[in-house]
Symmetry: D2
Subunit: 342 residues, 4 copies
């Protein structure tokens, strides 16, 4: 049986989920929903996705713009197996999904308390099997889970992560700042607790600042180990981890600029970088503490987890590593040196 | 006969020329040359291009980095039909190309006086037929030729172009400024005379400023017509012009940020935008003068012209429009609403 | 008689007008008005300005913040000779000023049609003598008037100005874009007509783009002369013009960054640069056209004109050059090489 | 006796040291040295400083620029009691100072090993009394000492500091990046060891990233206390600390942009902010750890320490708090709520 996936919201995340679901063997894009007839709506249609207006009241706008519409959101949700909600109005939609009895998953901008269940493919896939609703954790939380999970075996005593966050996405021309650094004054920041929604018991504290860049978040992390681990042990563990990619300043990768340039050369659609980028030559264990930097492509790192979450909720694959491998192969991000297993 | 193309320099332009030459039916990439074993060198090999070290003295570096090398630059040039020089040291290489008797073409950073011949596919393809050496004009000059050429029929009295230039490419983490605007104090700037190297007799004056952005150049242009032309006439002319693409603020395209987001969605490798972007709703004829804005993807707009220049120098196609269409189809940028002809 | 000046709105412009009025021999700051108890409100009190809440409903906020308040805006306006309105809600206040019968002047963000009279010290001081309401034109319009007025004697046939605008003020951490260039799609832009509100009959066309910088606007201007003028004539005219300052790249002033650094060294409060900055080595007459760049300190260039406008409306000085000189001496920006006269 | 201070290098630091030394009762600026006749050289002369060319070979340049020169650097050093070296070539000059037998102090860009002595007014003033050579630690190290020193009394177990660094100074139009975040891959970074050059035994680890901003460095710090301390205790300690200033987001100070706007309003020359800025509402003790953000005005925070270092080396004042108070009063940064004593 092919899982019919409805995508509500066709912006930064929604359009990427659509493109990632499309090549999966066990799912299909039943349709995508958008409110306004922007160029993105036009491109969705050009790509062959069935397009639905968020509400009947928007139909005239789409007609005026010459964008063909297959119906309204409710029509789509009624025939879907699951809705991937990528809207900024998830709370309101949640009630409708419940009424329609359709499974649904949300993005990391929503609160954990809305669904009381969150998702990260590495850390708690199993908890999500067959559930009706979940929330895929945010790009930063996903990034932390990706690189910390393979370090579990060394015994993690505690983690301190300072997140240097890009302030706007590249396609956004409104948000600033242009020339300032802005601290997130609630300390420790909400990111630490957010990791715990998918990884109970991890001892992690986080702080965050916003900086005038658009292309990636950066984390400066310090992990204190309970056990013994050398820099080599850590690098080796990451080499074997899917969805984590090592970079070297020695080969010219000095900042997020060069990482994104690599991603453009690598050729994924939209020049996305789905894995978390870690500087191999910036990761060192000193006095039992691992210091490392990772860069997060905020627009795309959660996309493979979205695909896995669909599978988990729909009970389509009970083995998380099989799902992860299936997702990555279909998306063209399978890493042959990685081990798809614990 | 398949034209054997050597690409000297595998950076911003070189790597794109390689990818654009590859799918052309009448040419092939004989090999690419680079000096340092960066991640870009590694990716060239991964993509299957034959890789040559710029000089024998660099061979140990490549060996140390584990990047297989097919020989040195001279080996490659000797067997090529034409070299596309994308290095910052063109003058020195020029002498070597002459010695080897291999045709060669250079990029817009070089002076016209080096080759005494320049190239733009629209304006002077014919002048380049069968010649040994040429220079493909710069991204800004190419951009001006693209949108002005289709306006010739209205009678161009004069053009004023003010170029608001991005200060560094997206993959560059060194160059600034971070928060300043810098004028090019030589006025009028060199861009006007540069256009005249491929379009004799055009009355054009230019000035330029550099701004802290990485993604596109912007031109604010004013064209005074000799004849009559309405805004609609101009838009209609551009609609029919290959390698020019119209955008609308009404569909959410408000700045270069959204244009690049469009390009990412459109799916070309590296999210490139080969055509020149023009705001349809920002182009107006008022009192016999056309005011319009165009945005130039500085890394990629000259690439199709490079392909055409290869064909012109090698006398592989005498009809410029046939070459342009062939290039565009192979690169996946054929526009079905455009007219490939004068 | 000392003119009692009320300042409504104590933000970017308001706080500067207060500091500029204070040292004038013929005026005094009767009080300043603000709505919210920010650090700026606290500093106004620390500086010794009488502080008024915009409305009685805000009084508890100021009390809670421990900021002493002398009364409400209406109390202040009733006893003032003139209100300098620096609020974003001028239209609403305008009615109140009329009711109270107090003279008032507005800033360039307002429409000319509100007052049907605008002000620039150089171009139309006399038209404002004794009037009740006026509008000091915007920073960009003021900048154009300042450098064009001394060129009148050469006969100005027409002016083309392309404005490369900073997108946010330095103290603003919200507005973007971070990495984009945004055209003002209404062409020609509104700036040309705005100049004509204070300089009837000038033939000027303008376009504008916004760029990710905070510190200054830049104009790339082209003036076509009716008569004869050399580069030297033009430079000489500007040397003799108050409120215009020449800079040289040869002395290290390459961009707006160095101009602002100069301003910081020069020691005005807030490191303001009240004069318009013009690159002497970037100004050239070629074929009867003058090409030049000017940079506008958007936060401060209109301040001296605000002071002059107070004098004009209050009929305190009928000779514009006397007012200009008096203002400049008191503000510490008197230029001894300049000629205060036509 | 008045200390005769020579200032070698009149750039970002040198010009500020000159302005800070000038109003001190026990010292005077004997002269300033610069190599190139930039606008800064001209302004030094305009301000009344005696101006010396770095070398006789530069004299013609100054003559050509019309900048009067009192002699060469060696003339100045020979008659000075102490040289404040603010050049990028300190190592070379060091030998000359030794030959001339003049005391000298260097800036934080130099290595501690050059002088084997470093200086911070709070932490090791006494160690510097009467010494011949020292190095005033960098802006970031100074910032850490300022806010950590008053926390000593609570028992500091360890400190983790992540420095989010501005990439270029505001007056710099060359350096980037424009849109990237760059990690300092040597981890832990050199900043921790640098603090220990003036504070032996402090347990501190640091990492750093560079971001595209020009106006301030930001630190996200975590202090683990041995003893008990509440958020209130910490705030209270900082309130009583000179050269530390608390800010509140509640009063509109959300980022470094608003802090610099505050500094402009506060009216110091160049809009400098000599104290370290700490967010009062971003400082919290949670589970025995203090989390806080501080912002460092990289161009000016070390200036008062330079003045104190002059006094310490010249044995002009043996009580550090007396020197600190004297410096701050003369510079106009005396804080009446602060306690000038331990």
């Amino acid at each position: 049986m092919t899982i019919k996936v409805a995508i509500n919201g066709y912006g930064t995340i929604g359009k990427r989920v659509a493109d990632a679901v499309k090549p999966q063997v066990d799912m299909e894009v039943a349709g995508v929903v958008k409110r306004t007839p922007t160029y993105e709506a036009r491109m969705a249609v050009d790509k062959g996705f069935k397009f639905y207006a968020a509400d009947a009241k928007y139909l005239p706008d789409f007609e005026a713009a010459g964008i063909p519409v297959a119906g309204t959101a409710m029509d789509l949700f009624a025939e879907a197996d699951i809705v991937v909600d990528c809207t900024p109005k998830a709370q309101g939609y949640f009630e409708k999904y419940k009424e329609l009895g359709v499974k649904a998953m949300f993005q990391g901008g929503e609160k954990h308390t809305m669904t009381d269940l969150s998702f990260n493919a590495f850390t708690n896939y199993d908890d999500n099997l067959g559930k009706d609703y979940t929330r895929v954790v945010s790009c930063n939380t996903t990034g932390l889970c990706r690189t910390l999970y393979p370090l579990k075996k060394f015994g993690i005593d505690n983690v301190i992560a300072v997140m240097i966050r890009r302030s706007a996405d590249p396609g956004d021309s409104k948000r600033g700042p242009i020339n300032a650094i802005e601290p997130v004054l609630k300390v420790p920041s909400h990111h630490g607790p957010d990791v715990k929604t998918v990884w109970e018991g991890l001892n992690i504290q986080t702080t965050a600042v916003k900086v005038p860049s658009t292309i990636m978040h950066m984390h400066s992390n310090i992990v204190t180990f309970k056990g013994q681990a050398t820099s080599e042990d850590v690098i080796d563990a990451w080499c074997k981890t899917p969805r984590v990619k090592l970079f070297n300043a020695a080969e010219g990768i000095k900042s997020t600029a060069e990482i994104m340039e690599y991603a453009r050369d690598a050729g994924q659609t939209r020049s996305d970088l789905f894995p978390i980028a870690v500087w191999e030559d910036g990761a060192h264990v000193v006095d039992g503490k691992l210091y490392y930097y990772q860069a997060i492509h905020q627009e795309s790192d959660v996309i493979p987890d979205n695909v896995d979450a669909i599978r988990a909720l729909c009970n389509a694959e009970s083995d998380k590593w099989k799902s992860i491998e299936m997702t990555d192969r279909a998306m063209g991000i399978f890493q042959k040196e990685a081990v798809y297993g614990d």
